[in-house]
Amino acid sequence: MKTTNIKKIFFSIIFCGLLSAAFFFNILKANAQEQQGDSLSDLISQTKDEVTQLLNLKDNTTLPSDQKQQQETDLNIKIISNVLNISLSQVSSTIGQFSSTTAPQGEDWTGVYAYVNNLLNNDYQYYQTAQDEFSASSTVMTLDQLKSFAKDLNDKKTNQTDEDLQRINIIIAALNTPDILSIADDRLVKVSSDVKKIYDRNMTKNQTLKDLYNQASKYLSDAHDYNNQALDMILNTFTASSTTSTKDYVASLKDKISKSKEVAANALSDITSPDSTSSSTQNLSATPRDIDNYLANLVSNAYTNIKSAYDVFVKMSTNINKYLND
């Protein structure tokens, strides 16, 4: 009997301990995310200050040469180290955002997740390795070696990792759109019910409410259309499992983008130099950045239409009494 009671007390303590640990873990997690954002902003601000100091130092004509060189070396080490920390923090933040996205399920989407995870892993590995190497050798690097390291880092960053992360940010925004659309759809159903009731019972002869409802409905229909196009594009373009179908899709997309670039280039050419006959010297083929921008436009159009639909809903709800009294 005594042993049973001791067991009960022991398990109660363990259970309470686990609950408390889970509670504190959640608090710590929320605080950590908030602090991560703050510390990143602080680090960016600190780096900007150090760049200003570096420029002033380079412009300085009073300091002795050796002293100037030492200070420049120290500032370069600080700036490169900060940029590596900022970049690692950006990759980690994107990993966190992607993992908390309510992405579509299904076999088709496994290729997309593999593609995104692969980019994130590669970018994280690159910065982690660069940071380790820099920490180990920065103190013995010459000013020229530091400049060379900064140049290589900047090339890799601007030509690859920034593009990868920005593409994933746009993909995340597209994958989060259906949740927002679902709220807007529910509102449209409720508004539809009210509008039907108003006109069925002849509560007003003013057609404005009906027109506004149709307008909101069109905005949401367009938002769905843009979102479906965005999801379709992600599924076919940003996937690790390439098939004939996805290759055809990408080829057709590139062709479409290329044609629209040609139209834009011709229009610009007509304005700037009307006598010019062709724009053949320009590269009008679709680049990876053009493809990313195309997806960003689809997401942006979906969002703009959802916002417009809500502008209409607010207008209807604010002026409902006015419409009913007309």
């Binding site: 420029l55 970049s87 400049k147 140049k151 900047n154 508004v191 539809s192 009210d194 009731k197 809903f313």
Partner: protein, 186 residues
């Protein structure tokens, strides 16, 4: 002990009385005992079981428990019927019941949706700004151009001079004086 001795002992015992304090306490205890009617003795077996239960449990009879929960259920059912009736009457019959166009709800929902969208877009914008700041920093570190004609330095100096010139109250005073002189000379 003979007969006479026994009688004497009994006479002594007859004189024994309870103390006044004990008598009062006993009387009060008897008067405070609740009256139990004949009717309540019908379930003798239940009562005898209850007598063995703890004091608090004894204050409830099974009958009371069943009757009170029955009352609660009846009240709950009646409330639910009334509420459904009110909802039906207001939604179907009242012309002014338009839940889909409720202004405060629609405005709150619009704010929530707009905020969610802005947060999504801010991730993209913030990333761009941070990446740009990092790139600028790395470019300045990697720069091999002569230090004194650095465009960032010259632009910063230029804006410093512009702001100093625009903020100088003396220049504004000079302008005012010129205007006055111009007016007088006309």
């Amino acid at each position: 002990m003979n007969k006479k001795q026994i009688i004497n002992k009994l006479k002594v015992l007859k004189e024994i009385n309870p103390e006044n304090d004990f008598s009062k306490k006993s009387r009060l205890a008897i008067l405070q005992t609740p009256f139990v009617s004949k009717k309540d003795f019908q379930g003798e077996s239940i009562l005898s079981a209850l007598e063995t239960a703890p004091a608090k449990l004894r204050s409830y009879s099974l009958k009371n428990i069943f009757s009170s929960s029955g009352r609660v259920i009846s009240v709950a059912v009646a409330t639910a019927i009334i509420l459904i009736g009110i909802y039906f009457a207001t939604s179907q019959l009242s012309p002014l019941f338009l839940p889909g166009l409720n202004q405060s709800k629609v405005v709150a929902e619009a704010n929530m949706v707009n905020n969610t969208i802005d947060i999504q877009l801010s991730h993209i914008t913030k990333f761009e700004q941070t990446a740009k700041a990092s790139t600028t920093a790395l470019k300045e570190v990697a720069a091999t151009t002569p230090s004194h004609i650095n465009s960032s330095i010259i632009q910063a100096e230029q804006s410093q001079i512009d702001s100093a010139f625009n903020a100088d109250p003396q220049s504004q005073n000079n302008q005012d004086i010129n205007n006055i002189l111009k007016t007088i000379s006309q």
